[in-house]
């Protein structure tokens, strides 16, 4: 490992090399850190903001936060990997989240999930080659009355059946 990575880079100098849109994102993240007074208590809240800005939690983003919040990289990484909401790999433009909560399960969520896997050609946790869809499952999105449901982006699709999956996806392609 190069020397500067072990001792920590000077964050502001490292940012000079970034292209403008990237720089803007880091500046916004910086603002979030300041909003929370660089407090280590706000780590989860700041990570939410970082994921919103960058789409996922890249290595350099995690390093940036460890330095800004003055905490060991291991502590930031430990929190990132503990919570299922945070991702260290890129996600598709649309997150397809199939609910596998109890109500959905009783009403056939497993078959719906299978249909999504077949239609997208990916397994849970993967992203399609065109970068359009990522497939995940959720434990319950609180729409039990409409089971089985799936969320695509912010939209909830209710009372799904395997036959409906293709049509539902078409609207996003």
């Amino acid at each position: 490992m190069p020397q500067h990575e072990r001792t920590g880079t000077d964050v502001s100098r490292a940012l000079v090399d970034l292209n403008p849109p990237e720089l803007a994102k880091f500046q916004q993240l910086e603002a979030a850190c300041e909003y929370f007074d660089q407090s280590d208590e706000a780590l989860i809240q700041i990570l939410h903001r970082a994921q919103e800005l960058f789409g996922y939690l890249r290595d350099d983003v995690i390093r940036f936060l460890a330095q800004r919040l003055r905490m060991p990289l291991s502590r930031v990484f430990g929190v990132v990997t503990f919570y299922s909401f945070f991702s260290t790999v890129p996600k598709g433009r649309y997150i397809v989240m199939v609910c596998t909560g109890t109500a959905c399960y009783v009403r056939g969520a497993d078959k719906v999930l299978e249909a999504f896997q077949k239609e997208l050609g990916i397994e849970v946790g993967q992203t399609t080659v065109d970068g359009l869809f990522s497939l995940t499952t959720a434990r319950c999105i609180g729409a039990c009355g409409l089971a089985p449901v799936a969320m695509i982006g912010e939209d909830v699709h209710s009372a799904l059946t395997p036959d409906k999956v293709k049509k539902v996806l078409k609207a996003y392609r």
Partner: protein
């Protein structure tokens, strides 16, 4: 703001909402000229079944008819009848329209609002031939309910502090701050017998007393809104539909216990709840109901929202506090209890959303009013999230002690296609299954425990003969395996091993000792785990073993799944006489194990190579494929 000013504010706001608070007595237009109000349910379920486009169409139709100045559209919190949405309720007529599509709104405006005749075809009907029912109070789904916690949900705009105040909002706070000592507030909550609605049912008043008695100046109140049980969504609906109630309740808790600061820990999956709660906190602060000198008294209290990041274990008190502080949400051994050493090592109480939602009405109406509802051991109401194989699903609030049968058949309207009730699951991954023989059980904390289940947070999932109880147990165990935080081995390893044993049973690989091993492992995990997640993880297994042992034994001894769910135990055959030779199964078989019977227009399944996927069973139009 002084208490007197609050009362004047309430009176003004109440007048503006007269159609809703007193539909029968409301005459003529409201002070601002409004002649009718259209309440449109903007709960999570209605939003996803099309509420936004219905609302747009409704507003356009009103504008077209020139009614936009006299008819007010009010988006409300969840009305509860989720499977009937999108819903619109016309006030003061008190007519509820169900299953609306954007194109239906013109009829409502022209026929009902302009013409004065309710649109019959858009009303609820229990079944196709039944007479339509216009008033919610006449529908069985609502008639059997009693709304205390959800009293405002579905009747007001959740983003308006005016409307909350108009529904007696912050009156409990004014009453406590001006006329009650902190100990009086605790005594009232103690006397009400209110038990924690998050699962364990611990008396809320005792928790408050412990915090009040704890030494030191710095104390904290936390609202646990990390609603993680799959199948439960009442906390979400309360936060989305009535967020000020939680702000008021937390402030009351702070007054009673001497806490100066509060946190609401909300799961990240509920963005709308987070937004509305933040808005409510801002509005309350601006109105002098939160912050410094609350209601012109010396009281100071502030609330911060902390957003979780998807970890079920964070519903556990000590894990939740770690997460509030931005750490991994791993539990700590108790004692010390949070009331002794909680957030920052200071005394802390953690109350669930629904528990807190009961506080303002208890303070306003008194403990006796509350104990008059429900049963002796479980006073008050409980909100259930009714889901699964039942005709009407949604949020249902009933007095404690309501019979399960009433819940399923009266409120829920029975099972679809008249199918038979097999079991109801309560309490999520920490709970159990109640079999048909206990359909007359009273839904309260103690009765549920007697049959080996728990109240939990109030998820109630109805299952019919198509659910295999071993598979259900495995489903919940899989949940616990994934959500175990990994800190203590009994939970981390034990749940994994139990899951493996359950999978063996479902796959037909179990032997004579598997069930005994499962039972003994369940005991170890139950007694040796660090926190509630592990301690209750075996419950679904133990309760299904208790009530459906024969089903387990059928899997092991006969290699059969009576419900026809566990694929590896199924055999598919084609009935020679029923087969018409349409080739659908032949064409769809993924492993090409369906063959033509020699020289005939008939097909058969070669058992060798069949992967029991069930495709042939599903595609056969003649019911010729048999599954056993």
């Amino acid at each position: 703001m002084t208490p007197d000013e609050l009362t004047q504010w309430r009176d003004r706001a109440r007048e503006a909402m007269a159609f809703r608070t007193d539909p029968a007595g409301a005459e003529g237009p409201l002070p601002d000229g409004t002649r009718r109000e259209l309440l449109i349910c903007a709960g999570g379920a209605c939003i996803s079944s099309g509420q936004p486009s219905v609302e747009d169409a409704l507003r356009q139709a009103l504008a077209k008819a020139g009614l936009e100045d006299t008819v007010r559209v009010v988006p409300t919190g969840c009305m509860g009848a989720c499977s009937l949405g999108p819903l619109v309720r016309v006030m003061p007529d008190d007519v509820l329209y169900v299953h609306l599509a954007p194109e239906d709104t013109a009829a409502i405006v022209e026929e009902h609002l302009a013409g004065g005749e309710p649109v019959e075809r858009l009303l609820y009907r229990p079944d196709e031939d039944a007479e339509p029912i216009a008033r919610p109070a006449d529908m069985p789904f609502f008639r059997h309910q009693q709304k205390v916690v959800l009293a405002n949900c579905g009747l007001m705009n959740a983003e308006s502090i005016d409307e909350y105040v108009g529904r007696d909002g912050y009156q409990a706070l004014a009453k406590a701050l001006t006329g009650m000592q902190p100990q009086d507030v605790i005594d009232t909550v103690l006397a009400s017998g209110l038990r924690g609605r998050g699962g364990a049912g611990f008396p809320a008043g005792r928790k408050w007393q412990m915090l009040a008695d704890a030494p030191g100046e710095e104390k904290y109140v936390i609202c646990n809104a990390d609603e993680g049980d799959p199948g439960a969504f009442m906390d979400r609906s309360i936060l989305e539909g009535d967020p000020h109630r939680i702000v008021e309740a937390m402030t009351l808790a702070a007054y009673a216990t001497g806490a100066r600061k509060g946190y609401v820990y909300v799961r990240a999956e509920y963005p709308l709840a987070i937004r509305r709660l933040q808005l409510a906190i801002q509005e309350a602060r601006r109105a002098g109901l939160l912050g410094r000198d609350i209601l012109a008294t010396a009281m100071t209290f502030g609330i911060e929202v902390r957003v979780g990041a998807g970890a079920f274990v964070c519903g556990e008190e000590t894990a939740l506090m770690a997460s509030v502080l931005g750490q991994r949400g791993q539990p700590q051994p108790r004692p010390p209890y949070p009331t002794q050493s909680g957030l920052y090592g200071r005394p802390t109480i953690i109350n669930n959303v629904e528990t807190l939602a009961n506080i303002p009405p208890i303070i306003r109406n008194g403990a006796e009013w509350f104990t008059g509802i429900g049963t002796e051991g479980s006073p008050g109401t409980k909100v259930f999230a009714l889901a699964g194989k039942v005709n009407l699903t949604g949020l249902v609030e009933v007095p404690m002690g309501t019979r399960l049968r009433e819940m399923v058949y009266e409120i829920g309207g029975g099972l679809p296609d008249g199918r038979a009730f097999k079991a109801a699951q309560t309490g999520g991954p920490s709970g159990g299954c109640i079999p048909a023989e206990h359909l007359d059980i009273a839904l309260d904390f103690d009765s549920l425990q007697e049959v080996g289940s728990i109240m939990g947070s109030g998820g109630l999932i109805v299952m019919d003969e198509d659910s295999c109880m071993v598979d259900v147990a495995r489903f919940f165990m899989e949940f616990c395996v994934e959500e175990s935080c990994g800190k203590c081995p009994p939970c981390r390893v034990g749940t994994r091993e139990m899951h493996a044993l359950l999978t063996d049973i479902c796959d037909g690989k179990a032997d004579g000792e598997t069930i005994a091993k499962l039972e003994s492992l369940a005991e170890v995990v139950q007694s040796a785990s660090l926190c509630g997640l592990g301690m209750t993880a075996p419950n679904p297994v133990l309760s299904t073993l208790r009530h459906f042992r024969d089903e387990y034994e059928a899997h092991v001894a006969d290699r059969k799944c009576p419900a026809g769910v566990c694929r590896n135990l199924l055999t598919f055959t084609i009935d020679y006489d029923l087969c018409r030779g349409c080739r659908l199964c032949f064409r769809n078989c993924p492993t090409d194990t369906i063959f033509q019977v020699d020289g005939e227009k008939k097909y058969r399944i070669e058992q060798e190579g069949c992967i029991h996927c069930g495709t042939c069973f599903e595609v056969c139009p003649f019911g010729a494929v048999k599954r056993e």
